[in-house]
């Protein structure tokens, strides 16, 4: 494995196709921010909308913070994704996003209530907390995508990053 890796993330959107890019880091990273996803550097929090980070819980709301290393962070607005709300917290250095984590993934009260009222089939190996599964990506979670992208854009706007 390469001894030198870099973590970079940028976002671009055009004609309805939003692209979120992320690259992974191994240990030895110069980033001061909380590592995404804990011990496995390739954790799915980055670029994977429905996992929540296993690191220190970031503050909710639209707070921005800055560190001496020039790392600035902001939490994007809570965005609807059809079954609830999602908010993403990003850290940038200059114009480059160096980290993105899902800070909040809430299912709507109405949805949760309906779940509670139904007899819901249980799957043999279902994982009710995606963050514990140590995954790099989720196959099938399309409906969180736009909310995720919108929240990231909101955070970028707060930080004044194009």
């Amino acid at each position: 494995m390469s001894a030198r890796r870099s973590r970079l993330m940028t976002m671009a959107a055009a004609s309805g196709l939003a692209v979120v890019l992320a690259a992974h880091v191994a240990g030895g990273s110069s980033l001061a921010a909380t590592p995404v996803g804990g011990t496995r550097p390739s954790h799915g929090s980055v670029g994977t909308p429905t996992t929540t980070t296993a690191g220190a819980p970031p503050p909710n709301g639209s707070t921005t913070t800055a560190t001496p290393q020039g790392l600035r962070s902001a939490t994007g607005a809570m965005e609807q994704y059809g079954y609830g709300e999602i908010a993403v917290r990003i850290s940038v250095r200059g114009t480059r996003i160096v980290q993105a984590t899902v800070s909040t993934l809430q299912t709507a009260e109405s949805y949760s209530q309906q779940l509670a009222q139904q007899v819901i089939p249980t799957l043999q190996s279902e994982v009710l907390s995606a963050q514990s599964a140590q995954i790099s990506a989720i196959s099938g979670a399309t409906y969180t995508c736009q909310g995720y992208a919108a929240s990231v854009q909101s955070a970028l706007d707060q930080l004044g990053v194009k």
Partner: protein, 256 residues
């Protein structure tokens, strides 16, 4: 299209500039292909082709390539995947997203990255090594719990994973609950289907097909060299072909 594509990249020996350049080329290609195939854009080549407005000579070469692949998968799936059965004209949507993600991934591979995972709205292409033991762990979206996984699969780089779900079609997850059966039985509809194999375009199309196909369809997929499938029905029944890459050994007991 509204699809979000996310990338996980291990640059390996590439410099930051080389990675940035490869990413730019890869995303540009996605936008270019979206411009060709989007059926949401009225004057995209695909839209015009569906209306019969384009002659063969005017077609971008990607369209016949994709349509030929569609025909191939239609045959493989005994017609369960049939883009020509769509209202409004041939619609390769069930395959082209996976195809485009494959193309985008190939650009990174050619650039020399050590590893990559590209996830286009649930269609996942992988290459090379993931940090750790090198295999990629991919969660499969739970079909009726939005913040949960149905299971986890683990694949080596080069294998793709595509999931198609009823929840993607704008049907509320709540609605199927009205029909959730208290007992298992024939007639339960598929809630989601996942296919893994070497080509994401094919996996994408097969997963689409499995959403509507009958119970014999899983064995169809099993007969295709390198492909395996996992399907969840609305009543909670799970079916999988032998070799479906469940991450934990305990899950393999579900294989057909």
């Amino acid at each position: 299209m509204g699809t979000v594509v996310s990338y996980l990249v291990d640059p390996g020996p590439l410099s930051d500039d080389e990675v940035s350049s490869a990413m730019a080329e890869s995303t540009a290609e996605l936008h270019r292909l979206d411009g060709i195939f989007s059926t949401w854009v009225p004057d995209s080549p695909m839209s015009r082709y569906r209306l019969g407005e384009l002659d063969a000579e005017e077609l971008p070469p990607e369209i016949p390539v994709v349509l030929e692949l569609c025909a191939s998968v239609k045959q493989m799936s005994r017609g369960w995947f049939d883009p020509w059965a769509m209202p409004g004209g041939v619609d390769p949507t069930g395959l082209v997203k996976g195809w485009a993600v494959e193309k985008a991934t190939a650009i990174l591979v050619r650039a020399g990255v050590a590893g990559a995972l590209v996830n286009g709205g649930g269609d996942v292409a992988t290459f090379g090594s993931c940090a750790g033991d090198g295999r990629w762990r991919i969660g499969i979206q739970h079909p009726w719990r939005v913040d949960a996984l149905a299971c986890v699969v683990e694949v080596a780089g080069g294998r793709a994973v595509a999931t198609s779900g009823r929840y993607e079609r704008g049907e509320h997850l709540i609605d199927p609950f009205a029909a959730v059966l208290q007992h298992r039985g024939a007639g339960a509809r598929a809630a989601s289907a996942t296919v893994s194999g070497p080509e994401l375009a094919v996996a994408d199309a097969l997963a689409t097909a499995l959403m509507v196909a009958g119970s014999d369809a899983l064995s169809l997929v099993a007969a295709l060299r390198g492909y395996s499938a996992y399907r969840i029905l609305e009543d909670g029944t799970e079916e999988a072909t032998a070799g479906f890459p469940f991450a934990d050994a305990g899950q393999r007991s579900r294989s057909a």
